[in-house]
């Protein structure tokens, strides 16, 4: 072995490194580290991620946070709160013309799935759940609009309140559509952006319509 030592390199360059190669010790370590932490840390981390994404929706800049670490907590919370607020009247009212909870829930998720499939079929590079995540988070402005509408309706339901509600819902609808377009349209070939934007427009239009025509009983 003495002969081999001469073959390698000159003496004045230090050779360093590890001979023992850790075999797959990285991932179990990571798992252990998040498994052992207190529950509060896990929840706070997830809440912070959701909060950061909310901020990104309200100020849509071209960032990839929404796309990279997708999660469906935010969309679920938004969808449930919107559906709860859109429930019409009391349970024992016979003329219940408002959308039921299940209806709103199904519309939002089914609509988001259809838009995702459409954008993938048109040659998009975004993944299924990433697209669902973006569409779900961009319902936030419309949820805010629903809150505002309910407050305005508490004050009264005349022409003035209708005009206020119309303006608010229109503004939030435009905000939602622009926000989701900013995130989703980048993943499409440039000539087909209009084809992807139209179903998103229709989707948020239907939700806005449900919000605008909501009358408490």
């Amino acid at each position: 072995f003495a002969g081999l030592a001469d073959v390698s390199i000159s003496e004045d360059i230090p050779v360093e490194g590890e001979i023992t190669v850790p075999v797959g010790s990285h991932s179990p370590d990571e798992d252990f580290s998040t498994l052992d932490e207190p529950v509060r840390d896990t929840i706070m981390r997830d809440l912070k991620a959701v909060g950061k994404k909310f901020v990104h929706v309200m100020y849509p800049k071209k960032s990839s946070t929404l796309l990279r670490d997708w999660d469906l907590w935010g969309p679920l919370v938004l969808c449930v709160s919107l559906a709860l607020m859109l429930q019409g009247g009391s349970a024992d009212s016979k003329d219940d013309g408002g959308p039921q909870f299940a209806e709103v829930f199904v519309i939002i998720w089914f609509g988001a799935v259809v838009i995702t499939l459409n954008s993938k079929l048109l040659g998009g590079t975004i993944s299924f759940f990433q697209s669902l995540c973006v569409l779900g988070y961009c319902v936030l402005p419309l949820t805010v609009a629903m809150l505002v509408c309910r407050l305005v309706l508490l004050a009264g339901s005349g022409t003035v309140s209708f005009v206020i509600r119309l303006v608010v819902v229109l503004a939030m609808f435009a905000w939602s559509t622009l926000a989701s377009t900013a995130f989703l349209a980048d993943s499409q070939p440039p000539s087909r952006k209009a084809l992807v934007v139209y179903p998103i427009f229709l989707f948020y239009f239907v939700i806005s319509w449900m919000i605008l025509t909501f009358t408490p009983q």
Binding site: D95, G97, P99, Q100, E103, I107, V114, L117, N118, K120, L121, L122, G123, G124, T125, I126, S127, F128, F129, S191, R192, A194, L195, Y198, P199, L202, F205, V206, W209, T213
Partner: protein, 330 residues
């Protein structure tokens, strides 16, 4: 890793899988299928191979133990091995079937359009062709028709809301979606079946595309007349816009059918269904009840109209008024 990739490739060559599965194994970020599903599938395959290796070693060790335990031990081990293998084969087959049928690449060629093409086809759907002796070309595209059906659903929803339609035992959204999709898919299938009987040269996708684009006229008509409530305006739109789109569909079908009787059957059915559907959409979901009764009965209005609407009464009244209106116009 690459070992698993190569292993998966070999598996496909032996199993005679389709090209669809190959694409899934490629490290492709363009998302040929659900990437997450693809990742899961990859992980499943890696796990399978690890299990198979581990199984081989464990099997050998267990066999020795079995021999030590005697015949009963050996049979137990063999049974378990066979069960495990069958489960693995079943899982492999199921994942192959899933990646074959749930792969949306099957639908990809039908969505390969540009916005300019869609706009051109929308405008063409209102222009009847003159040449019926030469088979007209129909683009087998599904993006435009699908978007038109959804637009029709949205317009219908708007109409139902403005007319305060109350639907019991169902929901507004469900009714709108059911009506529009039911018409598009159902009538397309029915006309395709008739076309098969009448020896017309048309495929199912082409029929879906043709009827879908024919709904463009319906969308325009309903959008205008749900907002401007003039019945004469509706009838004009019904005849002109509905008629134009029906004529276009009829002309295309005629150009692809041989024989007078066949042409008559096919085109008569399609024309009738298409025009009647527009009529139905307008009258069933529109605040037209009081309007028509006003014009027909005059100032002597029976008091029952002022009562809050109840759906059986409304449907009876709508049928009566529709019959009266059709009798008047004929």
């Amino acid at each position: 890793g690459t070992a698993a990739d190569w292993g998966g490739f070999e598996d496909n060559m032996q199993g005679g899988g389709s090209a669809v599965i190959d694409m899934e194994n490629m490290d492709d970020t363009s998302g040929s299928s659900f990437e997450d599903m693809g990742e899961m599938h990859q992980r499943m395959k890696e796990e399978e191979e690890e299990e198979a290796e581990a199984e081989g070693e464990a099997g050998a060790a267990e066999e020795e133990d079995g021999e030590f335990l005697g015949m009963k031990g050996l049979r137990g081990q063999l049974g378990r091995q066979v069960a495990d293998q069958m489960w693995q084969v079943g899982k492999r087959q199921a994942s192959r079937a899933f990646s074959l049928y749930a792969n949306i690449d099957i639908l990809r060629p039908y969505f390969d359009v540009e916005p300019i093409q869609v706009r051109a086809r929308l405008l063409e759907s209102m222009i009847p062709v003159k040449m019926v002796n030469f088979p007209q070309k129909i683009a087998g595209e599904l993006y435009g028709p699908l978007m038109l059906v959804f637009t029709l659903v949205a317009i219908l929803l708007h109409g139902m809301k403005t007319s305060d339609t109350i639907i019991r035992e169902g929901t507004l959204m469900g009714t709108a979606i059911g009506t529009c999709f039911g018409y598009w898919l159902g009538v397309s299938s029915f006309i395709y079946f008739l076309a098969y009987l009448c020896n017309a040269q048309i495929t199912m996708v082409q029929m879906l595309s043709l009827l879908g684009y024919g709904l463009f006229g319906h969308c325009i008509t309903l959008f205008v007349t749900y907002n401007i409530h003039f019945h004469s305006l509706f009838y004009i739109f019904w005849l002109v816009v509905g008629g134009l789109s029906t004529l276009r569909m009829v002309a295309v079908l005629v150009s692809r059918t041989v024989g007078h009787t066949q042409r008559l059957i096919l085109c008569g059915t399609l024309a009738a269904l298409h025009m009647l559907f527009l009529l139905y959409l307008h009258f069933a979901y529109h605040k037209v009840v009081e309007g028509i009764l006003d014009t027909l009965e005059g100032p002597n209005m029976p008091p029952f109209q002022r009562v809050a609407r109840d759906i059986p009464v409304v449907s009876n009244v709508v049928l009566n008024t529709t019959a009266k209106a059709i009798a008047l116009t004929l």
